[in-house]
Amino acid sequence: MEYIIEAEGIVLRYGDFVAVDGVDVKVKEGEIFGLLGPNGAGKTTSVKVLTTMMRPTAGRIVINSVDTQNDTVKARSMIGVVQQHYAMDMDISVRENIISRAVLHKIPYKTAKVRMMELCEAIGLTPYLDKKGNELSGGWKKKTAIVCALMHDPKILFLDEPTTGLDTQSRHMLWDIVRIFNKRGATIFLTTHYMDEAEALCDRISIINKGKIIDTGTPQELCQSIGKFTVEYDSEDGKRKYSFFHNRESAKQFFDTVSERNPIMRGTHLEDVFLEKTGRLDITSLEGVLDGTD
């Protein structure tokens, strides 16, 4: 079987507001899949729906051949979730958090202890086992949440914005943890609004904006879709302009025509793709306000 998650036409409404608007997602077994989108795009809501925390208004989700709405319990046994914020109790220790979670999953105490030690060793959490949640910095809270989520040995790990609010060190540490667990066989579904994170970590990416998937592919495919080469330069009105090209020659040719305007020729980043497809914020209206001419 190729796809471990197959979601079709997912819709979620909060009252009149459509937070997720017909999303299709297909995730291959063993890959790191990224849902990339700005704040408010519907990433968290999508994760909540995919992980059965919320029932979709419409649509169908199949996880490892199990329809989540038909056999929710079985579907849940195959997923682990790390939510966007703390995702652990702050007033008990790391160890107590992990054991409580294992007990909820009906894992025998002895097995749970062995698994806890093994997971904690793998990511260097062991020295912190007896610290309380509120004594930990963000990265260690996330580590705890990840171990909690992995106690029942799920096939898929969902991480909702795992590095938002973390410092650079913790961010890179977390990327490594994601890679470690991915190597050990878990399929990873993560959301992020960081382009570099998606680029560095994910095998495939879907870009989401205003509740809709705009494009899906590997980072390379997405970059190629608008052109592998980028020339950026100053336009007449002072703004930075971007042009994309499929081969080096045409990029070079264009580069020469704008040589007076501080041009830079470079490879296309995911950020360019994202901005091209979701639209850059236009500052013209803002300028009008500043000039008092609008």
Partner: protein, 248 residues
């Protein structure tokens, strides 16, 4: 058996929390009932000869114990659940675990029952030292634990139904606090106007207070109150169950 097993699985993280903070949690819960005992028992009590045929202190101690079953169970549970739901996000993850909704509801009550019962035992012990009119019996403890459970269920219902902490505070101020004073805990309902008494009669604490007092003072057990309490308990349970149904 499955239900009891799952209930304690759900309660484990709360029990860890209780174990860590047992002294602080118990002492904080005892402050309010102790103040009532002091202020009403000795302050008011010195000018009130007797109420309902017993010394005032013997009258209010069961009332204060009833109040304690409500305040220490309800506020702990509703507050903790709301924090786990809104801030720690651990409640959502609990919903994903393979335990039944009933076990979730009952498991979340355990902390309240435990804390309310421990405080209740301390209050009864103090009361026993202050007056010889109280009858301490197994039934009294049973009734106390039962009413802790009922108010814990109310706490769970509030925690899962209300959207955030502002609402639990509101509920505390407009429902819980008035009940504390009005439900025949500190004064006999025979002295208030009929219409007011009728309204008060509807509230659950009135019945908790009546049941606990009847047992503590060796009077006829008010079975109607007992039935009303059971109905309340069932109602709170169903309310929580329906609220959880939305996402579990």
């Amino acid at each position: 058996m499955g239900l009891i097993d799952e209930t304690f699985r759900v309660a484990l993280s709360d029990l860890y929390y209780f174990k860590r903070n047992i002294i602080i949690l118990t002492l904080t819960s005892l402050v309010t009932p102790l103040l009532y005992m002091l202020a009403f028992g000795f302050g008011v009590g010195s000018s009130v000869e007797e109420m309902d045929g017993v010394s005032y202190i013997a009258f209010i101690i069961p009332g204060v114990v009833a109040i304690n079953t409500m305040t220490s169970s309800f506020s702990t549970i509703s507050h903790k659940l709301m924090v786990q739901k809104r801030f720690y996000e651990s409640f959502d993850e609990m919903l994903l675990c393979p335990v039944s909704k009933s076990a979730l509801i009952l498991g979340k009550c355990i902390l309240g029952v435990l804390k309310g019962s421990i405080c209740g035992v301390i209050l009864l012990a103090l009361g026993y030292l202050m007056t010889s009119d109280l009858i301490i019996s197994p039934q009294l403890f049973g009734m106390m634990i039962l009413s802790c459970l009922i108010f814990s269920l109310l706490g769970v219902a509030a925690g899962v139904v209300l959207p955030d902490l502002a609402w639990t505070d509101l509920f505390n101020s407009f429902v819980i606090l008035p009940m504390t004073f009005l439900c025949g805990t500190m004064f006999s309902l025979s002295s208030v106007p009929q219409i007011v008494a009728d309204i008060i009669w509807v509230l659950p604490l009135t019945h908790t207070s009546a049941c606990i007092r009847a047992i503590a003072l060796g009077r006829d057990f008010p079975w109607i109150s007992f039935v009303v309490l059971m109905i309340y308990g069932t109602f709170f349970f169903i309310l929580s169950w329906l609220a959880l149904n939305r996402n579990k």
